[in-house]
Point group: C2
Chain length 656, copies 2
Amino acid sequence: MEKNWTSLWLKYHAKASRNNLKFCEMVHLDGFNERSAIISNALEEFFRGVNGMLGVKPSLIKEANIKNGLRILRIADEMIPDEGFRLTAEADHINIEASGENGVLYGIFFLLRQILMEKPLDGINITSIPDIKNRMLNHWDNLDGSIERGYSGSSFFFKENKILVNERTKDYARLIASIGINGVVINNVNVKDAATFLITPAYFDEVRKLKDIFAGYGIKLFLSLNFAAPLELGGPDSADPFDEEVISWWRGQIATVYEALPGLGGFLVKADSEGRPGPFTYGRTQADGANMLARLLKPYGGLVIWRCFVYNCTQDWRDRKTDRARAGYDNFIKTDGDYLDNVVLQIKNGPMDFQIREPVSPLLGGLKETNQMLEVQIAQEYTGHQIDVCYLVPMFKEVLGFNHQSDETIFDVIKKIGFCAVTNTGNDENWTGNDLAAANLYGFGRLAWSVSLTAAEIAEEWIKMTLSCDEETVSVVKKILLSSRETYEKYTSPLGIGWMVTPHLHYGPSVDGYEYSLWGTYHRSDHLGIGVDRTLNGTGYTSQYHEPNASLYDDIETCPEELLLFFHHVPYKYVLKSGKTLIQHIYDTHFEGVLEVEEMIRAWEGLSAKIPAQVFKLVKERFSLQLINAKEWRDQVNTYFYRKSGIKDEKGREIF
Amino acid sequence: MEKNWTSLWLKYHAKASRNNLKFCEMVHLDGFNERSAIISNALEEFFRGVNGMLGVKPSLIKEANIKNGLRILRIADEMIPDEGFRLTAEADHINIEASGENGVLYGIFFLLRQILMEKPLDGINITSIPDIKNRMLNHWDNLDGSIERGYSGSSFFFKENKILVNERTKDYARLIASIGINGVVINNVNVKDAATFLITPAYFDEVRKLKDIFAGYGIKLFLSLNFAAPLELGGPDSADPFDEEVISWWRGQIATVYEALPGLGGFLVKADSEGRPGPFTYGRTQADGANMLARLLKPYGGLVIWRCFVYNCTQDWRDRKTDRARAGYDNFIKTDGDYLDNVVLQIKNGPMDFQIREPVSPLLGGLKETNQMLEVQIAQEYTGHQIDVCYLVPMFKEVLGFNHQSDETIFDVIKKIGFCAVTNTGNDENWTGNDLAAANLYGFGRLAWSVSLTAAEIAEEWIKMTLSCDEETVSVVKKILLSSRETYEKYTSPLGIGWMVTPHLHYGPSVDGYEYSLWGTYHRSDHLGIGVDRTLNGTGYTSQYHEPNASLYDDIETCPEELLLFFHHVPYKYVLKSGKTLIQHIYDTHFEGVLEVEEMIRAWEGLSAKIPAQVFKLVKERFSLQLINAKEWRDQVNTYFYRKSGIKDEKGREIF
């Protein structure tokens, strides 16, 4: 490859078995226009993939009665809804049936995936319809080219306050379309400086180019918005959503935007959060703010996606009543039902902030009359900075599968609205820093499309497409991925307590790093025990859940142990279900975590002959950094709690 | 005043009693040239001061037999050494006798100080000779205008990689000359980027202007040097002091420098320290490095001032054998006697880094055959950032008066060489951020001149000159200053253990902030006790002292209690000489510290009518920040040790 970026899982340069050749020599279109952007891109993709993997150049033919080829057929949307497709093999050809152009594109990507994974297409008969409506990626890219919480280079969208549109842009669109993503927010939710001007003519020409590239792959482009834009762009001296001048300013601004950028998906807004302005500044509710914009976007079919990450970030550590975990629910539950139908609340999976283990946010499904989108983070802010391996699909599945009340899961709550991820890409050659971190991007897309896929199935797909179909490679890498989240959890903060990271950086241990801070992130450990009492006797956070979860979490005996310290302040000598004391569990898991990393490294090294040299070397380097990190976590956490509790490790291992 | 900076203690705009008028109406010079820079500046100062304070314009007269005036007389240096002066009052005139021009300048400043402090000159008969040879200030100013550890604005020497020469430069020279400073290093010891080029023609013209301004006030200008300059300025690809090419490069460079800047004092070098290159890089000793430069500077009369802040700054916190406190001594003692006579080792007062309480460095006076200069820091890096009041003269007096062996104090060790301070000035209007912090600059200069002055005497001088001669003002402010260091110590880290500050920033508490770091700065606390064992059973640091100090420090019973935790790991229940346990001492001092700050504030507020409004307001604002800081320290330290020890405060006060 001459390009300085990899093709990730669209590895068409790998030669595939020619068993599937018989379905790939020609293409016939029935009911679709070959010149429309999406169909044209779909065909180009098919030609490119088949040419690369099978070494043939398929021809587009007019006759419906084809042999050894692919027939693409438009059917009514009562049969297959938009975006879905049906793939059926007949003796000498294969059919993709779809009611919309997106369905064709996704069908082609499915077909190419089968070829890449060396799966025979013979006899195939599947119908595939996305499980979730909006499947989105949020980029935290800044216009200067930096990426907030980015661990894989700089932005490929922005550089020095200019927008980049180039070959990589299109490859990126292809990659994310191939996993079913249909929406992308290109700029950081913290909208400052030049980013505020994205909704002005200064950037329209380049944003339009981006929008059109994405549109050609069925992906809507969204912009993050600065709620204080009127003040910063020379409009009225207020951002009060009830101020007629403010409304009128926004009306004009939005009209200008949609005239220049028809089909724009809408706006993502982080308001009243971590120093960002919002409706609270003017004594209005979050709904007042969101609805003001939604009303103006309605004529253009635009969405307002409103983040719920609203909490007091100047808390006093001495204060044990204020509980950051409560804040999302407390701030939004009272506005349930107040939102217009083109407003979506975007809610993080947990009540804190993307820790390695959190309970599911009680706001998800706590709201009954409001559109809710689930937000996860595949950028590994707190989960290893794409240095440490941490495959997050198992966590995402836990969240989606969580029964927030007896007859409803989180998936049920969000399926008609959306699922989004703060993404983990940058301009590194391999896109994600650690090659293995790409499994999270791949996995997020695939899971959002098909929630019933297991974490193992997704991992296997990704390995086969990216690395190799070799059985040992698949088995070893799958094992690494599937165990990685628990390994990371073992050597970092225990049993749901979270944090204990180096402040600001969020990589590496600092047990007390956030203990006396303003951020509402405490472990409250003393010489007898550790944990935050969020029961009815404590902050009362457990009452935000429906039953039976509320009672389950509230009682130390029924609280799931992996979340024990999130909900309870627990003595070190408390005996867990394993028969171990809490302190011994802390010691054991921290020693185990390091051993498991060592095991992963040995397993990886065993694949040296089977993994592309460049990938093997880079991942190996990251593993050696992960091992250093794991040891530092082990030693600091164990030492901290040994020094504080005075209780020795039963096994007499080295604690400092 | 129209200038946007204050005149600090040269407050000539204050009207003084006219009692001293009779000595100020005319001046006669005998044996000195009125046109020489120093004499001309001295006369200008006299005219300005007398005009401002007494409202007369003195005339310079030719006749020796003057009335109502000042006679300046050159005498032989056997009578009064260079820099010294004798001031004697006769019935109708006053005499300044000196053997050198500097003596005249200092005599005039002395005289003006008497007038400012409303002290009658009648009957005066004093001889004043500086106690210490080199009395220097080190600026940590960077060429971009920032100041490392600067808490009072930006540099007034540098801005955007250019040198500033303006009216303020001269005022600064006047101010520091008035307190006897005779050497100044204008740039940061961490020499990087543009600063490396200060020894190249790019900066010569402007450095020359600075040098000449300072020379006119008897002050030598020094530059901090980058030991790796050959590599960075296009010289040889090495900085090995034994490499002939390197030596030859330096020879040429130094010749160029001294041709352009005759009279330059020499160079200050921080080598092999905190990432800076040095002779260790090439397997050479510190003496090899220093001597290489000294040999080349010798013909020009230049000094090499070589900092001894050499230690391992990537230590492993798990390692209890390596002791940063040992490093200075261990690295330098073996080179004692190896240095050329124009090399001076610059040694920090303590073995760590300017903490509020440290033992005196055993390297000071440990070296027997080497020129030693004492370095202190009046920039309040660890002592409150010039927000918190912390008058440091008492600490400096402790150091100078320390009997490092029975018949010799630190003052004896350094008096023939020098005493320097990392200074606390910047381009804030009041020069030092907190107006009260100027007492440290003033005090350092005065103490370096006259070591027997008490901290109280110096404080009183400074208050009278800067604020007011009003009795209550003097008494209240003196009390604030004199108690401030102990107050600061009380609410911060206890009994010599140091650190516990927010990493990097060094303001505000973080008990474990440096506990698991690479910096060699640990408190080693566990549930039973706290402190670092530096006895013969521990790191052996105590053995670096002469007797009786070595034994005194080594024994917990004889170790001075204010340094207890520096030398010993001590149980919380250990009973101090006060009868209190260690933990109770920690609680008590932290509660007391906050109460004392509150008391200071009340005392300051009582002076509202007596202090210039601007100063009163600014200091009051700083006090309110100090109170917040003190409370945060109190609560974090008490909470930390309560949680860790489980031992309650006997008095039942609030701990979190």
